[in-house]
């Protein structure tokens, strides 16, 4: 057998191996989704969404957890987006030369890999105890903000980096200051990438359980949180709580709540994809 034949066989072998790997991942996801949907879809109705948790699985609903999740998403966005974008702009456009910036850069990449429960412990100590926020929505959102900051910073930097340097040069040559160049050229041109990063980071925050359990989010909340200082629960915690109960009814409730949570994250991912495509079409180099 000559070597070109061997190469072709190797090539094909790898191709089928790759197909198998792809199918494996998709199949697992399909089985998981199928299972959840079969079990939980029938239980979803308006009452399930608008009811409070209950000892009786047929009467229990997710209202406080869903509202808590929306609160957490909103507060985390308010805290993390300005901080993350500003830090990303600084690192990419201003602080390039200093040793401090290099040190920061390495640490931010490292932070993205820290297990989320560690953030929970940090949040418990700093926000919960030292700053006295306790187990409030604000403490939870602050903790999750820390968790997703590295993601927002990194994606902001990537988006800024993707703007051709010729645009930057042109702006400077017209007499624009650095800030004017960032504001009038770089941010509009990188908006699609920045917003995609933000939405993906937020959907990660929405799915987090561990750090919120650590800071003391409640499993049973008989009220709808009305202000950032209120105590709260979120969907993942509600799901975790229901799954750990022995009654069959709660397992079904958990499946239904998972469907709702997945819908929230799918909608967010969909928005991210829509915005990315829209802005990519608009900005062509």
């Amino acid at each position: 057998m000559n070597s070109s034949k061997i190469n072709r066989i190797k090539d094909n072998a790898f191709k089928y191996f790759g197909i198998a790997c792809t199918v494996f991942g998709l199949a697992m996801l399909a089985i998981f989704l199928g299972n959840i949907i079969i079990e939980g879809i029938a239980r979803i109705d308006w009452a399930f969404i608008t009811n409070f948790p209950s000892r009786n699985p047929d009467k229990a609903g997710i209202l406080p957890a869903l509202v808590g999740t929306l609160w957490i998403m909103g507060l985390t966005a308010v805290i993390a987006i300005p901080l993350g974008i500003a830090a990303g702009i600084y690192l990419e456009e201003y602080g390039k030369k200093s040793k401090l910036a290099t040190l920061l850069e390495i640490n931010i990449s490292n932070l993205a890999g820290v297990p989320s429960i560690i953030y929970g412990l940090l949040g418990l100590e700093i926000f919960g105890r030292i700053m006295g926020m306790g187990g409030s929505l604000l403490a939870g959102a602050s903790t999750l903000s820390l968790l997703i900051l590295p993601i927002i910073i990194v994606s902001t930097r990537e988006a800024l980096k993707a703007v051709p340097s010729s645009i930057k040069e042109a702006s400077f040559a017209m007499g624009a200051s650095k800030w004017q160049t960032v504001w009038h050229q770089l941010l509009p041109a990188s908006f699609g990438g920045v917003i995609t990063g933000i939405i993906l980071a937020l959907s990660r925050a929405v799915g987090e359980t561990a750090p919120l359990i650590v800071i003391g989010a409640l499993a049973y909340v008989p009220f709808v949180p009305a202000s950032p200082t209120d105590e709260f629960s979120v969907l993942p915690i509600q799901i975790f709580n229901w799954i750990s109960r022995p009654q069959k009814g709660f397992a079904i409730n958990a499946a239904s709540a998972i469907i709702i949570l997945l819908m929230v994250t799918f909608i967010m991912n969909g928005i991210a994809m829509y915005l990315r495509n829209r802005w990519q079409k608009k900005v062509k180099w």
Partner: protein, 250 residues
Amino acid sequence: MNKLDANNVNVFYGSNKVIKDVSISIKQNTVTAFIGPSGCGKSTFLRLFNRMNDYIDTFKMEGKIEIDGSNIYDKQIRVEELRKQIGMVFQKPNPFPKSIYENVIYGLRIQGIKDKKILDESVEQSLKQAALWDEVKDKLKDSALALSGGQQQRLCIARTLAVQPTVILMDEPASALDPISTAKIEDLIYQLKSKYTIVIVTHNMQQAGRISDKTAFFYMGELVEYDETKTIFTNPKQERTLNYVTGRFG
């Protein structure tokens, strides 16, 4: 009086000396061409005049560069102000991903000018000066990226003219364009001479011959010869210049 003056300028990228003791004087309302083989330092030298090299981390300069007798590397000089006086057109057309109108008024907008009348007037005047008005006057709100390469480059020139500079630096402005667009740009440069001082880097020696009053030949970071364009192309004093302009190397 000289518009631009460079005295004993040395430029380093790290320990690499890329401009070696260059002195040159450029008169007002003239077109000066910088020619020389790739890597000879002519673009680097051009970008000293509006301080575009400042963004290169390892950049270091010695010597003095003056516009109208004031040192542009003085600490008192605000580089944004300097660049309103000294505009630049780049090799590859680089319009902003905005409308034609927004491209032209960008310089005015960042100066804080909001008066619609002033902006409208500036757009019309600048586009007329750049010989682009008739082609785009009905689609000023369209994206600048939809224009052809030659139109984009004239838009970049219009954008530069809108802030009313006195000097225009051009870094191979026609090298990415087809011959017809190139001819249009050359015509334009010829017309702009009455109002502006123009310094142009070019690889195209016929172009230098056609449009410039004086020509400077750079080689390996040195200014080999600087004289009337006619003299450089017909009767240069240095052998290296002769070899280059007759195409024996380069």
